[in-house]
Every structure is written in structure tokens, then in C-alpha cells.
């Protein structure tokens, strides 16, 4: 280890505090979801390892479970694509023991009516934002590497989904931001005068500041944990998670919070400071946005930056300069930091949905990830793998086999 734990004053840096309990998934029921016609199972309290060849539907099963957390596919699929071929309606249901006692969460989607229905304890919820995050789960997937190496929209999507789960009011602010933005862009395209643009700017600034403040606060709060997990998995190399708002950080304070900066700069900027910075940025870009007919600064252009020591002492952007393994390491550190965030919000361990995550890691990294998933973490695990593996979690998980959409234990 190149640095001691004392270099990280944050409590997350020394690994998670033991949680008082864990969210436990119980019975899962699927109907006409992806390749599952009917599926019903009762998960063991510690979790399960699911074996199956490619195409057997391992990822589909995790996708179904996580659907009950965010009510959309974690793979970015449309609801329609989730309906089994030739069918009209899918349904996903699970019982979960969490902070609010035992509950049944269910979601159904009808392709014909284009209608999604979400139920908690058999009662339909009218606002999706009330049910979001009700499960308490985190997914680790092979595609997570795309968060690090893919387009900026994927990184914003990561922040938006996570903050929707843990930050009250975030979903509404984001939805409002998108509405105002499209109105404002239309006004710009139509050559609206300054008075009209300013009327739209007011709303944009109000909700945009809310979004940026939440993003900045999350990154600043988790940067130390990210660094810790990154260096643990990489076997030394430090990792820096930085928020890069398109309008620049409010004056006098760094938004990129490596732990040294965070302690030097104090708390992240207030919402009022973000609003002021946003106002100034819109003023600065007035000519440019008029020429282009589109709003050029704001949270819709934000970035999340991953940097790490690559090959030597210098810190470089992993998106451009990182190897596949380095990018994977950053993605795993990010998910572990996400799990910590959920734990804090839930007051207990989230469910870990691990989609074949050990497959593309070398032996060392694989072993270190395993260690991190065991140390101080007692959450239920659903781990998928194409073949039996020596990965041992939670003292050895039960093994189920998945074949053609059917489970065999």
C-alpha cells in the first residue's frame, strides 16, 4: 500500500461502517419478462450464485430485479423490449425486507397501452418518484466500464439515477430542468428576444442549481471512498473522481474534490452559489447560444472525470489514457462508492446484484474485489457466472442453474 489510511480523514476511506442490517430479497416472480415466461423463486438470505450459459437469461434476471428499484432497464432498454417476444404485458414482483418492514413491490408494463403500473403492497402508486429506490439494490455489471470510457451522457445518467434514489426532490428537479431546457432551446431557435430568454433562464437557473449542487455534493462526499476503493483494487494506484460542471465551479472553490482539496476548501458550494455561477455563465455564452440556437452551458453538459496514476506518477484521464483493466477498476470503485451511498440512505446494507463481474478481471484484481465485497459488507448477493467459479462470497453461496429461462437448484 503506497499510502496509509490516515491520509484519508473521511470515515468512508477506511471501508464501510458495519451496517445494522441488510435489505433481503425474498420471493421473486416474473411473467413474460425478456426470455422468462414464468419464473418464481425464493432467494436464500445470504444470496445465490446463478450459473448459466450465455443467453440463458442471467442478466435478464438481474435486470428484472433492478427494475423494481428504478422502474427502467439498467441496460438502457425500452420497456417494450422487456416484454417477452409475442406477448403484450410483462410483470415483475418481489418481496423485500427493508427499512420499512416487509413489502411487496411490483411493476407491470403493457405494450399495447404503453402503460406502466407500479404497486407497493398491492396498491398502485400514482407518482413513480414515490416508489423509486424502494428496493435498495446496487448492480455491478460488465457494461459499467462504459460509464468510464463511453460518452458523457452515460456519466450524467449514472449520477442522475443514483441521485434520484438517494436525494429527495432530485427526480422532480431534473424533470423540470429538461422541460425548461427544451422550451428555452426552442425560444433560442426561434430568435426570441432577450426578455423572453431571461424568463426561461430564471427557471433553468433555479432547478439547474439544485441539480448541480446535488451532483457536486455527492462527488465531494464520495471522492475519498472512491480513491480508497480504486487503490485497493488496483493494488496501489490512486484514483480521483471529479465533478466537472460545464459552467465551471462557483468562485473560490474547487469542484473536483480529491481529498486534499476538499479539506482545504471546506464544504462544497451552496445552491445559491451555483445559481449565481449559472447566471453568469448564461450571460457569458449569450452570443454563442444565439448563434447555435441551443443552450450551451448547464447540467445537461456536465462531466464526471476519472483520473488515476497511469504507468507512472502522473495522473491522467482514464477515459482517454486508461487501459481496459484500469477503466474497469474505476467503474468498480464507483459502484462500491454507490453502495456506500445507498447504505447510508437505507441505514442497512443494499442487495448486491453482481453480473459476472469477476470474468474480465485479472486474478489479483478479482481477489481484491472479492475482499472488498466481504469486508464489512453483509448484504445479500446475487452473483451470476457462466461457469462454476472459485469465487466464495458470504461463506459460500447456494448455486442455482439457469437454462432456457428456467431455474434448477
Amino acid at each position: 500500500m503506497p499510502h496509509s489510511a490516515s491520509a484519508h480523514p473521511s470515515p468512508q476511506a477506511s471501508g464501510p461502517e458495519p451496517a445494522t442490517g441488510a435489505v433481503r430479497l425474498g420471493r421473486i416472480r416474473l411473467r413474460d419478462f425478456r426470455n422468462f415466461e414464468r419464473l418464481e423463486c425464493e432467494l436464500p438470505a445470504e444470496g445465490v450464485m446463478i450459473l448459466g450459459s450465455n443467453g440463458a437469461g442471467k442478466t435478464n434476471l438481474l435486470e428484472a430485479v433492478y427494475y423494481l428499484e428504478v422502474f427502467r432497464s439498467f441496460r438502457g432498454a425500452s420497456d417494450r423490449e422487456l416484454v417477452r417476444f409475442g406477448q403484450e404485458v410483462f410483470r415483475v414482483e418481489a418481496t423485500v425486507e427493508g427499512p420499512r418492514g416487509e413489502r411487496t413491490i411490483a411493476a407491470a408494463y403493457s405494450a399495447a397501452e404503453r402503460r406502466k403500473q407500479v404497486e407497493v403492497d398491492r396498491r398502485e402508486v400514482s407518482r413513480l418518484s414515490d416508489a423509486i429506490g424502494g428496493l435498495g439494490a446496487v448492480v455491478f455489471s460488465l457494461e459499467d466500464v462504459e460509464i468510464v470510457r463511453g460518452s458523457p451522457s452515460g456519466r450524467r445518467r449514472f449520477m442522475d439515477i443514483l441521485l434520484s434514489l438517494v436525494e429527495p426532490g432530485y427526480v422532480d428537479a431534473l424533470g423540470k430542468y429538461r422541460s425548461v431546457l427544451s422550451q428555452r432551446n426552442e425560444a433560442l431557435k426561434g430568435g426570441a428576444d432577450r426578455a423572453q430568454l431571461e424568463a426561461w433562464s430564471a427557471g433553468l437557473i433555479e432547478v439547474g442549481a439544485r441539480v448541480m449542487e446535488a451532483r457536486a455534493r455527492w462527488v465531494a462526499g464520495r471522492a475519498a471512498a472512491f480513491d480508497h476503493y480504486h487503490s485497493r483494487i488496483a493494488g496501489g494506484a490512486r484514483g480521483v473522481l471529479g465533478y466537472r460542471p460545464s459552467l465551471g465551479a462557483p468562485a473560490g472553490r474547487a469542484a473536483a474534490a480529491s481529498d486534499d482539496e476538499a479539506s482545504a476548501e471546506g464544504r462544497p458550494p451552496s445552491r445559491a452559489a451555483w445559481a449565481e455561477a449559472f447566471r453568469a455563465a448564461l450571460e457569458r455564452t449569450r452570443e454563442r447560444e444565439r448563434r447555435r440556437g441551443v443552450t450551451v452551458v448547464g447540467p445537461h453538459r456536465d462531466e464526471l472525470a476519472f483520473t488515476a496514476q497511469v504507468g507512472g506518477e502522473e495522473e491522467r484521464d482514464l477515459r482517454t489514457y486508461g487501459s481496459g483493466g484500469q477503466q474497469r477498476t474505476a467503474a468498480l470503485a464507483l459502484r462500491l462508492a454507490e453502495a456506500d451511498t445507498l447504505r447510508e440512505r437505507l441505514g442497512r446494507e443494499p442487495v448486491y446484484l453482481l453480473d459476472d463481474v469477476f470474468a474480465e478481471l485479472d486474478r489479483e484484481r478479482s481477489g481484491r474485489l472479492l475482499q472488498l465485497l466481504e469486508e464489512g459488507r453483509s448484504g445479500q448477493v446475487v452473483l451470476t457466472s457462466p461457469k462454476p467459479s472459485e469465487v466464495r462470497l458470504r461463506g459460500g453461496l447456494d448455486v442455482w442453474r439457469l437454462r432456457d429461462g428456467r431455474l434448477e437448484s
Binding site: 422532480d172 423540470k176 422541460s179 425548461v180 427544451s182 422550451q183 428555452r184 426552442e186 425560444a187 431557435k189 426561434g190 426570441a192 426578455a195 423572453q196 431571461e198 424568463a199 426561461w200 430564471a202 427557471g203
Partner: protein, 195 residues
Amino acid sequence: MSAIEDLITELGRLPGVGRKTAQRLAYHLLKTPPGEARQLSRAIDRVVDEVHACSTCGNLSDSDPCEFCSDARRDGAVLCVVEEASDITAVEKSGHFDGVYHVLGGRLSPLDGMGPDDLNITALLTRLRGGVREVILATNPSVEGEATATYLHRLLRDLEGVRITRLARGLPVGGDLEYADGVTIAEAFTGRRDM
């Protein structure tokens, strides 16, 4: 097109009425006694012939000036600006407002092709030249309603002696004035604040 088809098509043009509902309504009308169906058709004829926008405030009424503009008991120095004439009914329900109204006839919404020129703003500016003390911006608490209020505030803020206020945010988020209950609207009026 057959007479029935014609009726179904026309009913189907109404907001919130799909083809199925239009069919149901049409067959319902055919089953009701002819006198009742005629009453409906006469009522439609009457509103088309007799109801016009008030030349002062833009409210829809069969007299010009409308019943609010011509009511001497109402305080003509306090103006409540609403998006649609139907919003007036909602405000009246609250029983907490005794000023007069100004109907914009919509809200700013570039995506729907609605700009300031499409709203009844020129008439509003004219009215403000004569003895108005307060303008209450009672546009809906939606993204578009807020932008419209902000726009009007910037337009009016330099007028001397006119106080510009906005309804308190007691209304449900995104909820239209039209659907809020009387008590909620009364609270929104009482808690109105300077912009």
C-alpha cells in the same frame, strides 16, 4: 359521411375525448328524447353566437364589458392576471378576491408556438396606465406558467406605484389553478408575495 359518423367525428375533436368515448356519447344522444338533445345543440349555438371576449379583460362573457369589469363593487385597482378564462371560475370559488381580472389567453410556450405576441399583453399595459395599485400574477405553477410570470414581472416592474405579486406556492406542483380547490386558492392569495 353519415350523420352519425359526422357527430362522432365532431365529438372526437373535444379535448380528452377519444374515439370510443365519442361513439358512446353519440349513441347516448341518439337514445335520449329529441328535446334534450336539441337543448344541447341550442346551448352550443348560443355560446357561439353570444359569448365573446370582454374587450377590457379578455374574459369570455355574453356581455361586454363582462360581469366582473362592470361590477362597481369590485376593486378595479387590483388586477389578477390568469392564463385562461376558465381560471376565473376557480379563483371566484375561493371567495377571497374582489378585484378584477385580466385573461392572457394562454402562456409562453415556444414548443407550442406561443410567444408574447400571442398573449393579451398589450391590453394589459394599457389598463395599467390608469390607477392600478396591484397586479397579482396568477399564472399556473407549471414550468410555462412560471416563465410567463417572470416575463410579465420584468415587463411591469418599472411601473411606478404598481405592486407586482405572485401567488404563494400552496398549489400542487404542476397543478393547474383550474383543478385546485377553493381553500387552496384562498391560501395562495393570502400568502401572495412581492416578486
